[in-house]
Symmetry: C2
Amino acid sequence: MEYTIGQVAKQLGLSTPTLRYYEDEGLLSGVRRTEGGRRVYTESDLEALRVIECLKHTGLSIKEISDFVKMVSRGDESIPDRLELFRERRDQVKTQQAELAHMQEILVFKCWYYEKALELGSEAAVRALPNSKVPKRLREVRNYLGSFD
Amino acid sequence: MEYTIGQVAKQLGLSTPTLRYYEDEGLLSGVRRTEGGRRVYTESDLEALRVIECLKHTGLSIKEISDFVKMVSRGDESIPDRLELFRERRDQVKTQQAELAHMQEILVFKCWYYEKALELGSEAAVRALPNSKVPKRLREVRNYLGSFD
DNA sequence: ATACAAGTTAAAGTAAACTTTAAGTCAAGC
DNA sequence: GCTTGACTTAAAGTTTACTTTAACTTGTAT
């Protein structure tokens, strides 16, 4: 199957200027053109774009992704470098996941806090609650945050 | 305990200009000053900054955080709004976690892929492997990504 | 008392990742 | 054959979140 820039944009949730921008920045090269100069995306271009989206979502900048693409075009010789890049990414995402889990704890505490405030009629009343009235798993977060809203 | 701007910066891993910038943007108000005009941060300022960091790390922009701070200063009346904000954040982080887990699968696949490529001497050799030679839990990702590097 | 590190302000500068604009070209439907 | 919507380019503009600069003041250590 082959696609126009508009169809690809829709599928990936990107805008058409963004797709052109990615090409300008070297994230995608060798996109075929029609006689009239319009881009024609193949299934394989879509696959490349999916990996690009993955790298983007795990925190790589456009520049770093373009460096990766350059590696790819160096062929098998760059396999060790690419392995290193993906290992780094994998480890970094693990860290990110731990951090996000911590943030989630804070948010869960905050939801409890404001539900209680709504129930009791004021923040002050929630702050005045003894730790024994706070769900066990939220106590640690409460200590970490202190008395702030 | 009370702290200078430099001490706070160190503790939170921010720069001193960033702390001043946050104040300018309304993320933190009422920071006390010495006679000579220097900022004095209290324990409670630190707690506020920890919540700000949490909101930032879960994807809120500076503007959105400043809107939250404005809510706080409206007092108990804004509790329902604040509850809604934290519920939204909590749900959004859950989505983010799912997405990150998906990205992690891709990265784990890529690490396997390049380890295998290193072992076999080329990418082509890995691509040529039948699905039966691919660890079970990685097969789905392999199909999703297709044949791209 | 004096040096100097750390603080102060306002304003300008930066980097990243797009988005918008302007001026046109292409191709599908009537 | 003509309109219209989707495409093309190059260049300028935008937003976000800081950072840097410059000129100055404060407070601590010798």
